[in-house]
């Protein structure tokens, strides 16, 4: 029998063939629909008579007003039914562990090392209760303290709180600190404006607005950089602060960032650095050197903790010493070998989350940072930037694509591309390319709304992905673009290999149609009467 070169059978002309992917479809009902009255996953044994006699009626200790009149309407299922249900749902998903997850730019979708999940799942952590006495939770307090020291070194700022539940919560905490600072100086009413840029994370504008500030947004200058002259026009005695991301979501690093900070300081405002895009600058630049007063990191981005479908997460908020008294309570303090939670902070902005945040994610992030070491963290940034600029060069070989703003310049860790030319030529839009890419098992995202870059596409390769991974992603997009030119209907009628087809968009904009609970679903879709309150 003739020998076959089995290692080359997945290749054509030296390039790997596109994946023949097909998504699973289980037609799985909502778990409430699977409920069978009386079915149980675990049968809890009856309390022994002796024990019952000794303890009495435990429910009698709960005030009657706090007791349910009827049991909660939870689904009743056997253990195997539950396992099967969630395994099926997991197969209908395209998660970070399945695809080359570089298509969700600005999210820093890096690999979450599994050993860190094991640490977080350890009973040593998961069995703790947040109300335990400090003396019994010295280990986790020490980890929180040590991780704060790491963040201080990375940012150059003086104190951190790990309480905020995610990046936006951390920005909100920072805005609260900014307000407390101006209030203490008697300027809270006068300083009612917060400045940001259109390519900073939208959470900056949103949090400032939520806190009651007027938001002033700067658009880029003619070269695509944050516009210093616009900032000059914006600052005044009404300026409370600037909240700014750098590099911005275009991947462009603001070369005049120190000038921005100085100008706002001169006007009496504070400067808060959104470090959501820190993955490309770890160990290279710091908030302190640019003279920022506050900053925040998303541990689910730069520090590799899972994104977890929108939470629970940690947004680490950092400040200079002068602002430390305003940090949320509690903070972890060290006293020799003893660690304790300090609640006695009269100037604090209060709580921005429950207890001390999400310690499991602090453990994951601490383990990751320790496994990297200082040199490793810098190497993370260097590889992330290298990956991104390799990807940029390969992507720009695809006809119809451009990288608007600061054209011809290198980018830091991500790029917001534009398919405007392709859309003009073919009528195929960016989202449609993304839906077709899903037919090859790849996730693809456009941009926050509203679109500032026309026909956007935001890719952020991080340090986690190999050259082969990046090549596969580019090859799929190049193939889809080729289809857009030669067989546009194939792209427009995609997906073909996924089981959920085009989703109607309009209901997303209509709260009247949202059914986010089973009860709302029964009411809005099933027409059930609303239960009395």
């Amino acid at each position: 029998m003739a020998q076959r070169d089995i290692t080359r059978e997945r290749y054509t002309d030296g390039k790997p063939n596109l994946r023949r992917y097909h998504q699973a479809k289980w037609d799985e009902p909502v778990i409430f629909e699977l409920s069978v009255p009386g079915q149980r996953g675990i049968l809890v044994p009856e309390v022994e008579p002796d024990l019952r006699a000794e303890v009495g009626d435990v429910l009698a200790d709960i005030p009657s007003g706090m007791r349910r009149q009827a049991p909660p309407a939870l689904p009743e299922l056997s253990q195997v039914a539950v396992v099967r249900h969630y395994m099926r749902l997991s197969q209908e998903n395209l998660g970070a562990d399945l695809n080359v997850d570089i298509g969700q730019g600005t999210c820093t979708m890096k690999h979450n090392p599994k050993v860190n999940d094991q640490l977080a799942a350890s009973p040593k952590l998961s069995d703790l209760h947040p109300s335990q006495d400090d003396a019994t939770v010295q280990g986790i307090l020490e980890i929180m303290y040590r991780f704060e020291q790491i963040l201080k070194e990375i940012s150059g700022l003086d104190r951190f709180s790990l309480q905020p539940g995610a990046g936006s919560a951390a920005i909100y905490a920072n805005v609260s600190i900014i307000r407390a600072y101006h209030k203490a100086r008697g300027e809270a009413d006068q300083r009612d404006e917060i400045i940001t840029t259109i390519f900073s994370h939208p959470s900056n504008a949103a949090c400032a607005k939520t806190a009651g500030y007027k938001v002033i947004t700067l658009y880029p200058d003619a070269d695509g950089y944050p516009d210093f002259e616009a900032l000059e026009a914006a600052v005044s005695e009404r300026t409370a602060a600037i909240l700014i991301t750098n590099p911005e979501d275009t991947g462009i690093f603001n070369p005049r960032i120190a000038d921005f900070v100085d100008l706002v300081h001169e006007a009496g405002g504070l400067c808060s650095y959104d470090q959501a895009n820190a993955n490309g600058i770890l160990g290279i630049t710091r908030a302190r050197e640019a003279n920022f007063d506050l900053c925040h990191f998303n541990l689910h981005k730069t520090f590799s903790t899972p994104h977890a479908c929108g939470g629970p997460a940690v947004g680490a908020t950092g400040v200079r010493n002068e602002l430390a008294k305003y940090l949320p309570v509690p903070v972890v303090e060290r006293d020799g070998d003893h660690f304790h939670l300090d609640y006695d902070r009269p100037d604090s902005v209060g709580k921005v989350g429950s207890f001390h945040g999400v310690p499991a994610n602090v453990v994951r992030a601490y383990a990751w940072a320790m496994s990297m070491g200082a040199d490793g963290l810098r190497e993370v940034a260097e590889i992330a930037v290298l990956n991104n600029n390799y990807l940029l060069a390969k992507m720009l070989e695809i006809p119809g694509l451009s990288a608007p703003y600061a054209e011809g310049k290198r980018r830091i860790e991500q790029v917001r591309y534009s398919w405007e030319k392709l859309a003009e030529e073919t009528g195929v839009h960016s989202e449609e390319l993304g839906i077709r890419a899903a037919d090859f098992g790849l996730h693809y995202w456009t941009s926050h709304h509203p679109f500032v870059v026309p026909e956007p596409c935001t890719l952020e390769p991080t340090e986690s992905y190999s050259k082969a991974d990046l090549d596969e992603y580019v090859a799929v997009l190049a193939h889809v673009v080729d289809e857009a030119r030669n067989d546009p209907d194939k792209v427009k009628t995609a997906p073909h290999n996924c089981t959920v087809h085009t989703i109607e968009h309009a209901p997303f904009d209509d709260p009247g149609q949202w059914a986010v609970t089973w009860r709302a679903y029964r009411r809005k879709v099933g027409g059930e009467e609303q239960e009395g309150t």
Partner: protein
């Protein structure tokens, strides 16, 4: 007829664009069209319509209602459709009257969307005939395209029309119909005027990821802007409200009627005058102290112009008396974003006024939301 038949009205202005390649700055009027043809101009509006119709093949149960020959029938047949021909032009040379008559007939026949190929003159004719009474969308085929009712190219016009007829796009917005005086352009002057609005479909994203929650829509954005402006209105101060749908929302919020394409004046929550010309504006601000007369404008025409297109009543004289610090610019963020990195601009006809207005200006984009935008002259 099947119940879910979708009806598309199609009007092609066969002479649109004739004057362009032969350098005539436009094609309005029979004598210019004849001159263009004599200079060797080749009609191409029909071809542009054929390109757009390419996208409509996938719309199920589509019925095309159109006008005879070059006014739509030819294009539809060239794409393999069997259109219902509802009328024909009165003479061998089609005129603005034919466009208007066809548009009225389409409305009578209850078309779901009126798709037309032409330029600003065509849009103006359709606007005069049916206004905002039915959804309409332009296939760009003319020399002049200052109106915001046109897609960026025929393919995209066809695509948007198909999505609208399929029900995948349902939002409509009032888009400006602008036209310039061709004779003035031939004399070297540009003077674009706002003639009215057509209701055009707006394509938002087809799908959306969880991270990309879209805003509550243009109407809510305008209402937020209106609240920001009315909340900050000062007593005994004249507010001269320029044309546009964004500025109209300000008067709506005050319970007042706005001249959509004109300048209105309000003071102390009362409407003082409608549709003012330059002299009436000058008279209204005469003798007022600095800061007691303010101008509220929004970029008109989708290209970022804040003075000099569609609001020439705000003359250089008016602007210099009111002063830059009393100009309030309002715009939805979507409108600013659609400029794709280009600045706002002014072209008032006076270099001095243009220079006074240029530089960075605050633009109200929502309630407690402003943007700093460059203004070029």
């Amino acid at each position: 007829m099947a119940e879910n038949t979708r009806k598309l009205g199609l009007i092609v202005n066969p002479v649109a664009g004739l004057g362009g390649r032969v350098g005539l700055k436009g094609s309005d009027g029979l004598h210019v069209q004849r001159k263009a043809l004599a200079l060797g101009a080749v009609p191409h509006a029909g071809d542009r319509a054929i390109d757009a119709l390419d996208r409509l093949g996938r719309v199920a149960d589509l019925e095309i209602v159109t006008w005879s020959g070059a006014m739509g029938e030819d294009a539809a047949r060239a794409r393999g459709f069997s259109p219902r021909v509802a009328g024909s032009s009165k003479s061998s040379e089609s005129t603005a009257d034919d466009t208007r008559a066809a548009a009225v007939e389409m409305r009578e026949r209850g078309v779901d969307l009126l798709l037309f190929a032409g330029g600003d003159g065509t849009a103006r004719d359709i606007c005069e005939a049916v206004g905002e009474e039915l959804p309409a969308l332009g296939i760009p085929a003319g020399v002049k395209i200052h109106s915001a009712v046109y897609a960026t190219n025929p393919l995209n016009a066809g695509e948007l029309a198909a999505l609208f007829l399929q029900g995948r796009v349902s939002a409509l917005r009032s888009a400006e119909v602008m036209d310039i005086d061709e004779d003035a352009v031939r004399r070297g002057q540009i003077s674009a005027h706002l003639h009215g609005y057509l209701k055009v479909p707006v394509r938002s994203a087809l799908v959306q990821s969880l991270k990309a929650a879209s805003g509550p829509g243009e109407e809510a954005a305008m209402a937020a802007i209106a609240t920001a402006v009315t909340d900050s209105m000062e007593p005994d101060t004249l507010y001269l409200i320029g044309p546009g749908t964004t500025t109209r929302a300000i008067l709506s919020r005050m319970g007042l009627d706005k001249t959509l394409i004109g300048v209105d004046a309000v003071e102390n929550s009362r409407l003082l005058a409608n549709d003012m010309n330059e002299n009436q504006i000058l008279a209204s601000i005469e003798g007022r102290k600095a800061g007691r007369a303010k101008i509220v404008v929004t970029p008109v025409g989708g290209q970022g112009c804040i003075f000099g297109r569609g609001n020439q009543q705000f003359s250089p004289d008016v602007l210099s008396r009111v002063g830059r610090e009393n100009v309030i610019v309002v715009s939805t963020q979507d409108k600013l974003n659609s400029l794709a990195g280009n600045s706002l601009w002014v072209d008032t006809g006076s270099r001095k006024a243009d220079e006074m207005l240029s530089g960075h200006l605050r633009v109200i984009t929502g309630y407690k939301e402003e943007a700093i935008c460059r203004v070029a002259s």
